[in-house]
Amino acid sequence: MAVRPASMSPSLPDNTGEIPGQRAPLVLGGLDYAGLTDRVCSIPEQPTAPPAWWATLALAAAGLAGFLCLIGYLVSTGIGVWGNNQPVAWAFDITNFVFWIGIGHAGTLISAILFLFRQNWRTSINRFAEAMTIFAVMCAGIFPAIHVGRPWLAYWMAPYPNQMGMWPNFRSPLLWDVFAVSTYALVSLMFWYVGMIPDLATLRDRARTRMRRILYGLFALGWTGSAAHWRRFECAYLLLAGLATPLVLSVHSVVSFDFATSQLPGWHTTIFPPYFVAGAVFGGFAMVLTLVIPARTFFGLQEVITLRHIENMNKVLLATGCIVGYAYGVELFIAWYSGSGFERFAFANRMGGPMAWAYWIMVGCNVVAPQLLWSKFCRTNLWVTLFVAMCVNVGMWFERFVIIVSSLSRDFVPSSWGGFSPTWVDFGMLAGSFGLFFTLFMLFVRYLPIVAMAEIKHVMPAGHAGDAGRAG
């Protein structure tokens, strides 16, 4: 079955309203179990990919190739190819790291936290979001690794016995970061893969060619859908969700400790952990929307990822956006209330100093733009949603840039102030990391089940066509 262009999809009923006493349908268009399987499996089963997929992949892969070249240039020359220098020793590199690691958080929130809260609408988008998490964490991991200067010695961060008798310092927030991010990457990967095993088995059982049967068969691990297996599978899934929930809250808290435990005005604030976590979820949901809206149209998944899903995500975006706006306000209030001249100066400098433009981009994108989502028209309009999501993507990158660069460039002593101007390598690596992310993402949408079929079938009622998907 070929990919259905958007124009061919049937007009679907509106499921964004609330009818008291009745749960809104999660799957539209009267899909039954087989229909759902066909719709989702048709994407990896097309013999040839559509030209648009090839075009996007080529663009992304070119970005990835450029990224690899720039990493080679950086490693062979030194990190002086970046614009970083004293006093701004952290700039695009750490901004990109925090930006990407934050993107990942929405994936875990959707897969773990919404699962624990029994938000069944998550089943349509969780696979997507989890994949996004893993690819984002991969992008994130590269920046601190190359930023250490001699990346071939990055393994020194691991506590392993060595002839130098050297151990890492376990009380350093930078080492906490190493543990938090690597644990997060591994647990997210396990969560994603375990959830995908039954769907890989579906692809294996539908496979027509030997190669597909072997490859999907290997990764499906011999899954037969046995009741005994499902019982342990569900238990494992619940346990992983329970473990991932505190984990995701801890990861961005630990990332924020990199800043908050320092003495620098603008970084040394106790609000950072919750503020960073809310910001991460906010930025991550914006990225999920950015990816899901084109993908559902392109692959004809409107019956599975319905307008109600988009609207729900927009509500999360609005709520977390308001938390982020509140955090910006509290930050300013505490700076004033602290009575510390340095704190007051740090924030006055952010809002009116040489980098004020970045601060106001951040406020405009993260606080003002999401206010559109109070209106139902905007929440259910795909173009407005995409516009807001793109604003938030930009705004969240600028948030980290403002925090890092404005604080470092002007600290206590004016004689040690300095500026920052990025080089072409800085911009190239930022663009290149998107190349890596989208290369992985395009491969994912082409070869793996992008919607969690078994989970959706689980929330569909026992009845078949006609009334399918009436569960909430």
Binding site: N162, F191, D205, T224, A227, A454
Partner: protein, 201 residues
């Protein structure tokens, strides 16, 4: 769908693995599972494309030991993480060889070991080992991965991961009788009953 028993067998008479019965929907599967259990079979299983509500109760399944495995793995991570941080940064055991010997890290005059400063790493190792224990425990208890299963030989069974529901009574069940079991499964409303051979060893 017509009720049928396929009996075409190759001449070598392969060893029987069991009887595969196909059902149309989850409710029929749960009803049939309750009846199979009632009948006293012990070596049997149900297969479905997704976890079916009420099937565990119908099958009289016991609770899985997986949470216990996760707890033990998590405690190992907790104790291991604490030990690691203490050993490398706060201990000084003279009898250890130099490449394995920890030493007290004096940083800003702070105590060499204090719990709050070590909580983040210990928390991460706890979560990591608990998650690893959960995944490996789930696969281990399920005897996965396995490369082959006799049921994969059945054309019909390919839909067990899409939209059909199955019960398998294995031939090694002490109460198994080829004819009686097939008759019984058909009486439960199976859409089809099929004999499945044990695969090549």
């Amino acid at each position: 769908m017509s009720v049928e028993v396929s009996t075409s067998r190759p001449p070598a008479e392969p060893v029987l693995y069991g009887l595969l019965a196909e059902f149309d929907d989850p409710a029929a599967l749960a009803r049939a599972a309750a009846a199979v259990r009632q009948k006293g079979y012990t070596r049997w299983d149900a297969h479905s494309p997704f976890p079916v509500h009420g099937l565990d109760e119908a099958m009289g399944a016991r609770r899985t030991r997986l949470p216990l495995i996760a707890l033990i793995a998590g405690l190992c991570g907790l104790i291991g993480g604490l030990k690691l941080a203490w050993y490398t940064n706060a201990s000084d055991l003279a009898f250890m060889p130099s490449f394995l010997r920890g030493y007290p890290f004096m940083i800003s005059g702070k105590p060499v070991f204090s719990l709050p400063a070590n909580i983040p790493v210990v928390f991460e190792t706890t979560v990591l080992l608990a998650a690893l224990g959960t995944v490996l425990g789930m696969l281990g208890l399920n005897r996965l991965p396995r490369l082959h299963h006799p049921l994969f030989a059945s054309e019909r069974f390919a839909r067990a991961t899409t939209d059909r529901f199955f019960i398998v009574i294995e031939a090694r069940d002490p109460r198994f009788d080829r004819r009686a079991a097939a008759e019984f499964l058909r009486s439960l409303g199976a859409a089809a009953v099929e004999e499945v051979a044990e695969g090549p060893p």
